[in-house]
């Protein structure tokens, strides 16, 4: 028997295991299922209290959650998943944050952009998104844009009055051809950041409002959960995550550090009938958990 025949004999023995093996339908089904889930999922990261950008730095991939806190809807499904890690939350490089904010500041009101940072900090080649919203200085002007989605209060509990507000519209996170162009441009021109203007979808994703009172400023965001399954967030080991009650329903209080190192306090609660997630965020450290809960209690 020749050497080639022996090789074929081994090959046949090894290949024999694969007869009748077929997982095509199962794999395609799983892919489509995951795609649907991805469409209903948003990974939200805050660089700072002000810039509530949807940021997807590669650092998220190395993150190993040890505990997941969930806020659930009336059907018991998680609408917010807060993944707490035993490792310190990886901070984005100062330069990356600065560049990201520069990109954002270069946009005209109403414009949005996809931003790609190549390099070892972004091994999965993720593309982040940012926007410069059209900011309204009165609650009436904001109400015009918001329509029936949410009744924007001019004043909230504790004597906090409306300062400004805007509407965020959802990005299309699945643009493989655009991403491929951005990767190519970064590679060819050795760029540290590649920016492309993008058009968000014309559906309200979130209404963001700021209020001012004696104890400081509070931000209230109302997120539209139509077509969205859940929002996922990450925190470090020092974060405080507690179950609290708001409007007789389970809610979450969280105190954590943001990517720029500042502290954030927030109360989150979900309105199942209107499919909206409320977040009441302290803009100054002087605001307490009780201040936030008092504001949340009367929001409708």
């Amino acid at each position: 028997m020749t050497r080639s025949q022996k090789s074929d004999e081994w090959k046949q023995q090894l290949m024999a295991a694969a007869e009748d093996f077929d997982v095509k339908d199962r794999v395609l089904h799983k892919i489509k299922e995951r795609q649907q889930q991805m469409e209903g999922k948003r990974m939200k990261k805050r660089i700072s209290v002000i810039v509530a950008a949807t940021l997807v730095f590669g650092v998220t991939s190395a993150y190993a959650a040890i505990k997941v806190h969930e806020l659930k809807n009336d059907q018991g499904e998680a609408v917010v998943k807060i993944e707490k890690s035993e490792n310190q939350q990886p901070a984005a490089a100062e330069q990356v944050i600065k560049t990201f904010e520069d990109v954002r500041n270069s946009l005209e009101p109403g414009e949005s952009a996809a931003v790609y940072f190549p390099g070892p900090d972004n091994p999965d080649k993720r593309v982040s998104f940012t926007r410069m919203p059209v900011v309204h200085e009165t609650s009436a002007a904001l109400q015009n844009e918001v329509g029936g989605f949410y009744a924007v209060p001019a004043e909230i509990a504790g004597g906090y009055t409306f300062v400004n507000g805007h509407v965020d519209y959802p990005f299309n996170y699945r643009q493989p051809e655009l991403f491929a162009e951005m990767y190519e441009e970064a590679e060819k021109e050795k760029k540290v950041v590649v920016v492309r203007k993008v058009s968000p979808e014309p559906k309200i994703e979130r209404v963001v409002t700021t209020y001012k009172g004696n104890a400081g400023e509070a931000m209230i965001t109302v997120t539209n959960f139509e077509g969205m399954k859940y929002i996922s967030e990450e925190t470090g080991p020092d974060a405080v995550v507690e179950k609290v009650k708001v409007q007789n329903k389970e809610a979450i209080y969280m105190a954590s550090k943001l990517m720029d190192g500042t502290d954030q306090k927030v109360v989150k609660f979900y309105q199942d009938d209107k499919k909206r997630l409320f977040e009441v965020i302290a803009m100054k450290p002087t605001m307490t958990k009780e201040d936030l809960l008092a504001i949340a209690e009367v929001l409708r």
Binding site: M1, W10, L14, F21, I31, P176
Partner: protein
């Protein structure tokens, strides 16, 4: 499927046509199953692994560059996936059991026992279980996929000459195992395989 056809299919999938990924699965699923089966020594684990490898490949498709062949890129994903599985304690126990040749396992691992017995009924399979994951990877890619040392060098980031030595060592180990199992009948045959 030739390289040009594969490029077109990848382009289609990247543009959002998920069903075109089915053509990649058709082309790659059997060789990948063979690879995972012999890396893991367990049919069900291999079946699950192949599905996970395809899912990972789909998710990372944008990062694929034509510096290596697409199938080589898939094998790299499969190799790391199998390594991760092997590092898990449960599967490690099964491999240890195979290596030690112990014939009994706990009731909870009844299914694995049947699988393990099926796997070790073939002398060549037994010989593979005696190799390290790295050696098995090399041997399967050489024998089943006919990969050249030059291509494997790109894939494994190791010099071709080093891979050749490692491959020869792996063959020797297989030979020793099969001599023990078959009383030397296969000695000549094994030494002749490439």
């Amino acid at each position: 499927m030739d390289n040009h056809e594969m490029e077109q299919v990848i382009k289609g999938v990247r543009a959002g046509d998920i069903d075109q990924f089915g053509m990649i699965i058709d082309a790659m699923q059997k060789p990948l199953f063979v690879y995972c089966y012999h890396m893991l020594g367990h049919r069900q684990e291999a079946e699950d692994a192949v599905q996970e490898v395809f899912l990972k490949a789909f998710e990372r498709l944008d990062s694929y560059r034509e510096t290596v062949s697409f199938s080589a890129w898939m094998y790299k994903i499969a190799y790391h996936h199998c390594l991760n599985l092997l590092s898990r304690a449960k599967l490690n126990r099964v491999v240890t059991f195979l290596r030690a040749g112990i014939q009994t396992v706990s009731r909870h691992e009844g299914e694995k026992r049947v699988e393990a017995e099926e796997y070790v009924s073939n002398p060549l399979h037994v010989a593979l279980t005696k190799l390290s994951a790295k050696e098995r990877n090399l041997l399967i890619l050489r024998v089943v996929e006919d990969r050249s040392y030059e291509e494997l060098a790109l894939l494994l980031d190791t010099k071709p000459a080093t891979l050749r030595k490692q491959y020869e060592r792996a063959l020797k180990k297989c030979k020793s195992t099969m001599i023990v199992m078959e009383g030397g009948d296969r000695h000549d045959a094994i030494s002749e395989v490439r």
